[in-house]
Amino acid sequence: MKQRRDIQQETEQTMRSLDGVQRAEPAPYFYTRLMARMQQARPADAWDRLIALITRPSVAITAVVLILAANGFMFVSKLKTTAELVETTALQQAFADEYQLGITTFYEYDKTEP
């Protein structure tokens, strides 16, 4: 284990290690490489920008979540409607049975008589 004073000395010496540092220069022919890249890079057209937008993870994930939420909402509302429909049908059936609305001919009416 080092002494506290040694640690502080080492730390201060390391903190000063960038004093007098020379400025780094890029590799030679930087301008040539820059011009080559600028000529390659064409301005993005509308389709490129649209594709770039919709393939961004945040946009894609949001879209998936929205679609799933819409699906869920549709499913729940459909379930509710089905339950209501069953109930209404049952009520209509009970009403029809009660008043014998299902009988359309005279002969059938006879058959249902006790």
Partner: protein, 188 residues
């Protein structure tokens, strides 16, 4: 200096070449200090000059060219770092499913080419500590140490007040000292 800008606005290629030759070292050195990777720094330096070429029309000359260039460089570097962090995070997710990803491997120590040979190891250690600083502290410290900017110039480049920059530098140095002390304490 305003001549260069005026000529650039007219689409003069010689003026652009002159601007690149004059400022490429400054832009590259700043990017290298923040990104700690020569290939990434070259990439970002190219992007900076591409943006300068495209947006010179909107440069009103209210600030110096160097300040404008520092601002673009810092913004591009931070974007690059965020992109890299995002990729690294996704790499970790992919590795959970058994896919390998090279970004998961920690990069080797960074050696700045301008550091004197005697200080090489210490500077590498300091750069490792700088890499773990929060973004704004890292930028302020690099601009001060590698570019020799004053607090006022750093403030102009970072769009912050002098007192805010001094606060950032103070916290950066404090964090670096803590990290280095930890390192030396546990070193056998």
């Amino acid at each position: 200096m305003t001549d260069i800008i005026a000529q650039l606005k007219q689409g003069n290629e010689a003026a652009f070449k002159d601007l690149v030759a004059r400022w490429q070292g400054m832009v590259y050195n700043t990017a290298l200090g923040i990104l700690q990777n020569a290939a990434d720094a070259e990439d970002v330096a190219q992007e900076v000059f591409m943006q300068v070429f495209e947006s010179v029309g909107s440069f009103k000359g209210e600030s110096q060219i160097s300040t404008w260039l520092y601002r673009i460089t810092v913004t591009k570097c931070l974007d690059h770092l965020r992109k890299k962090t995002r990729k690294k995070r996704w790499g970790k997710v992919y590795s959970l499913f058994g896919q390998q990803n090279e970004l998961l491997i920690d990069p080797p120590d960074f050696h700045h080419p301008g550091v004197q040979l005697a200080d090489k190891e210490r500077a590498a250690l300091l750069f490792r500590a700088i890499a773990s600083l929060p973004e704004s502290q890292k930028v302020a410290f690099v601009l001060q140490k590698l570019e020799g900017l004053s607090s006022r110039q750093i403030g102009e480049a970072m769009d912050a007040s002098v007192s805010a920059v001094e606060g950032l530098l103070h916290r950066a140095k404090q964090n670096l000292r803590e990290q280095l002390e930890d390192y030396y304490r546990n070193e056998d």
